[in-house]
Amino acid sequence: MIDTIVLTQLLNGFILGLIYGLMAIGLTMIWSVTDLPDFSQGGIYIISAYVAYWTITLLNVPYFLAIPIGALAGILLSVAFERIVYDRLRPSGVLSCLLAAIALFFLLENAANALWTPKAKIMSVPETEVSINLFGIVTSYHRIIIFIISVLLFIFVHLFIKYTKIGMAMRAVAEDREIAALMGIDTSKVYIATWALGGALTSVAAILISPLYAVWPGMGTLPLLKALVVVILGGFGSIIGALIGGLILGLIETFGAIYVSAAYQHGFAFILLLLTLSLRPKGLFGRR
């Protein structure tokens, strides 16, 4: 009996880790390319979940079609923020950009609360809520979908960064913005691509997790904070780091909640952050 519980928790921790990882990739790309820990992704996390929720309930679009639609919303918002807010604020330093990001997150959270009332909405996806018994582990079909989609996304992003032109340009800008600009890379195009990628990943993470939990205005804060920890833990700008970091945090939180204390469940991320920063500030796979 005991090991099935441990196995179930292992899977849950794994799935949670993948979600943190997904969001962390977006953040780590944006942070390394533009030097900005983009808090507004927390807001995009919320809005994309709502967009997916409304497309499913109002337009009764199947869940799998809602994911790209939500992701599109995330991309548009993300790029809009870059063009309208961050681009203008960049000359006055990272400080103002960071605060604008927080203000945007604050705005989206309260806008969601005002527009769609604070009541939590459950995104019921009947086809995937069927619970199956996978060699002893009681889990739902949906979690397997999360597993598959996130692994595919990780591979896609990894290849995208390594082999496409835009991907290389992003890495160049991440290394050193001035030199990249000197070498003829159009930095504003790279910024748009980075923000689009970030927005897409954050939205997919939000839409994947929503059926398991709920969609409500306050859903953005904790995942954003956890993803930031994962970025630092995994190492600045490293995709594999975001994945591994996410898994570590997911597992520690799930098992920590049972064996240590559930009340401080969200405190483990903080302890993990402190350990990383004191032992290995540049993270597991970080370069800088």
Partner: protein
């Protein structure tokens, strides 16, 4: 431009900004104070959380009040033969004490209300109660649960629903009689509401020789209950009280079903879980067969209110709507009894009146219970209901 002039200009700019801020502040304050009392309007204040994690309570409370307001103003309120209309001014307190205090002070001192409704979160109620006494303005809380709100009590602060400490002794015998548990467990939200719920029910069940085997707390807005449910599964209780808001309740039931805890263990929800919203969120199958302590029984007049709510707000019935509705009616009845707008007379009327509310028979008494002195506290017995397979409420007791 010599330095002298330039520095002068800068300081003058600062003082202009500072003075403008102060002047606007006081002018506005002055304007509110001097606002001529519009002819024959009864101004009532309402402080509730419209933003933040508890925003749902405020929204529902406001729905109940606005329906009651329509009914009252349709009839009009007659004091010494003159017809008055009622106006309710509402402010957001974000379920945070300093915001609540600022909101209520503004209502009393600036908007000159003669009575206060609110708030919903016990921490805010504890900040509001002394203000009512200080300014001698009667206040009725919509749904604060913690005992500390009315004990030690405040002469001008009233509560209709039984507090957490009082609910346990009233409903425990019903649960013992109907479900006959031997080991119980708790999964409660980690806030004043959850903590006082567990504390009082644990004490009362021990009175009947029923022991508590597991006690878990989760954060407001939590969504992953697998760790807690796994711990509960290991402790093997007969019944589990799960305490929180409906979204959390729905997730608990869905995740408990996933872990096979339901139907093996009987789940009894706190008063939130006696709402239709739980069914809409968790789905009929997850809810079927589970129990809940409910603050309103499926009576005909509540069905009538439910249809009004559906038609006006397209929202399911919720006990905060019932409380908001009852609170305004009780307050207006007191004003009519006192036949005056003097807050002190309204307070005295409130202390004497009895009112057949949708929630139950409302009478504000002061009494001793469990070593605590309660003041202006309502004491009707809550209902134990069971969710049927069809997602309807079935009254089990009393």
């Amino acid at each position: 431009m010599s330095e002298k002039k330039r520095l002068g200009k800068k300081s003058i700019a600062i003082v202009i900004i500072a003075v403008i801020v102060i002047v606007i502040g006081s002018v506005l304050g002055w304007y509110f104070m001097m606002a001529p009392a519009a002819p024959r309007v009864i101004k009532i204040g309402y402080s509730a959380p419209f933003t933040g994690p508890a925003a749902e309570f405020g929204t529902n409370g406001w729905r109940g009040i606005s329906i009651a307001l329509e009914e009252i103003n349709a009839k009009g309120v007659y004091i010494k033969g003159e017809k008055y209309t009622v106006e309710v001014i509402r402010y957001d307190d974000r379920c945070e004490p300093t915001e609540g205090a600022a909101a209520v002070k503004k209502l009393i001192l600036e908007d000159k209300v003669i009575a206060i409704l609110g708030s919903h979160c016990s921490s805010v109620c504890m900040a509001i109660a002394p203000l009512c006494d200080e300014n001698r303005i009667p206040g009725i809380t919509i749904e604060c649960a913690a005992d500390a709100v009315t004990s030690p009590g405040h002469e001008y602060y009233f509560r209709m629903r039984p507090s957490m400490g009082l609910m346990a002794p009233l409903i425990t015998p019903v649960i013992i009689d109907k479900l006959k548990p031997s080991k119980i467990g708790f999964l409660a939200i980690n806030d004043d509401y959850g903590r006082s719920f567990v504390e009082s029910f644990k004490k009362n069940f021990e009175g009947y020789g029923v022991s508590t085997v597991v006690e878990e707390y989760f954060e407001r807005g939590a969504t992953d209950f697998y760790p807690y449910l796994t711990a509960i599964k290991a402790a093997k209780p007969d019944i589990v009280f799960y305490v929180g808001v409906t979204p959390e309740g729905a997730l608990i039931l869905k995740q408990a079903k996933e872990l096979g805890l339901i139907p093996e263990v009987k789940f009894i929800g706190s008063e939130e879980m006696g709402e239709y919203e739980l069914v809409s969120l968790a789905g009929k199958e997850a809810v079927a067969g589970t129990y809940a302590i409910s603050l309103w029984a499926p009576k005909p007049e509540i069905r009538e209110l439910a249809s009004k709510v559906k038609e006006k707000f397209n929202a399911p019935m919720h006990y905060a709507i019932v409380f908001g509705y009852d609170a305004l009616h009780v307050l207006v009845k007191a004003i009519e009894m006192a036949q005056s707008l003097d807050p002190a007379k309204i307070k005295d009327a409130l202390k004497k009146l009895e009112y057949e509310g949708l929630q139950g028979h409302i009478k504000f008494e002061s009494f001793e219970y469990g070593g605590k002195l309660f003041v202006n506290q309502g004491r009707w017995t809550p209902y134990l209901i069971r969710w049927t397979e069809v997602g309807e409420k079935e009254l089990i007791g009393p």
